[in-house]
Symmetry: C2
Subunit: 255 residues, 2 copies
């Protein structure tokens, strides 16, 4: 039977998962998906994602793909997956894809959002999905600083510690949009780019928080993206971060 | 030192609590509040609520009160309580009250809201705060039926099983407002009244669901509020229920 390539879109509450990537004996989003799809297929199936999300990071619309031979219609597959998955992961779209489709290599952009609750009292209902920072911040300075990340830069200063020394791997990324705005009691940081280094979004946000505290100037920020780089602001907690969407342009980067 | 009567307003996520009322060795909202206020006072303090909420029921603005001698200003008391309470309970208002104030006996009305998610896929982020019912319901019939609960009725058919045989206790309650409406994918049932029997709101909602399924007519509903009463529709899960507010009129019912 010819193999089908299936593309899915999923939401997840990252609170109880040890991130996206399969890890032995730990609940991860990828391992839950592989368990369920393998069960439906009756054979081991690997599920590829558009990229890893860290432990505690949430997703509104992560994209993943897998190959199966089972002729089950897409709509029935969606229902079956949602019946078998924990309620913290929901599949809201299933469709046939090009046999060569790869959610990571074909992605042309990603949109992340970081959410900070600014009031003294954080509503108990939203708390797993916000970083609570009720202390003074110069939000105007932060808003003015956020677009400085836009453009093609070497973001090595914003990579995770265990990625910083990776030899030969480019740390250059293209940030299309980097904007901060207030919505009620929430400070929202939206960042879109060609791709992101491990921990990069949380480090960008942490750096803007340092700007808000007056510990970093715009000039300091610029030096972080030019040699000899240096050290970015402290990271912020995973639970305020959402993968909002993954974009696929007309042209595949690999096909 | 003269005793102060303190009135507080609190929000809580009921998911992890065994309801409002103190129970030995189980986490409850009342026991958390009493632990924290007693710690601040340095002596045992009892906290009275406007009424019990069942295990799993949430509150946007529950009202409670207690008496202390500690002269701590209200704002500092609020901060201290929020520092010591779990993040699933937040105190957002603290004020001095009349020494005779009792949150239960002085209450003149309460507003509850029940939330049903109607689409096939329930967002993982909202799931602890919604009842998921994606199956067909005649929502127009439900909307038309909801106001039948308004007025003064004997609601014994809607009381919890363990309350049904309580001798001598009136089951008559005055419902000021009982309305159902759609907001996006959520079906909202708002009910306000002088007071509610144990499980009454969930039983009213369950009865409206039976109307939506075509199992109960408007005529059947009317018979539930007249002798010989009978059996209401099956209850709905606690997690969709919110205590929205508690009202205190000009005149105290007991003072």
């Amino acid at each position: 039977m010819p193999s089908r390539r299936i593309r899915i879109k999923i939401s997840y509450d990252g609170t109880t998962f040890f991130g996206w990537q399969v890890q032995p004996d730990l609940p991860t989003v990828q391992s839950e998906l592989e368990r369920v799809v393998s069960g439906i297929e009756g054979a081991p199936v690997q599920v590829a994602g558009s990229g890893r999300t860290d432990a505690g990071v949430h997703a509104l619309a992560q994209v993943a793909a897998f190959s199966i031979q089972n002729p089950i219609p897409c709509e029935n597959l969606r229902r079956a997956m949602n019946r078998l998955l924990p309620h913290t992961i929901r599949v809201f779209d299933v469709e046939e894809a090009d046999p060569a489709f790869h959610p990571r290599f074909d992605a042309t952009g990603k949109h992340y959002q970081y959410r900070i609750w600014r009031d003294e009292i954080c509503p108990p209902f939203d708390r797993p999905f916000l970083h609570h920072h009720p202390y003074p911040l110069d939000e105007s300075a932060m808003e003015a600083a956020a677009p400085l990340f836009e453009g093609e830069h070497d973001f090595r200063a914003f990579a995770a510690a265990d990625e910083k020394d990776g030899l030969g791997k480019s740390k250059i990324r293209n940030v299309f949009r980097s904007r901060l705005r207030r919505e009620g009691a929430v400070l929202l940081f939206d960042v879109e780019g060609s791709g992101f280094l491990k921990h990069m979004v949380r480090n960008l946000m942490g750096t803007l928080v340092e700007v808000g505290k007056g510990n970093l100037s715009r000039a300091d920020m610029a030096t972080l993206m030019t040699p000899p780089y240096g050290k970015c602001g402290a990271s912020v907690p995973a639970k305020g971060l959402f993968l909002i969407s993954v974009h696929y342009g007309e042209a595949r980067l690999r096909s």
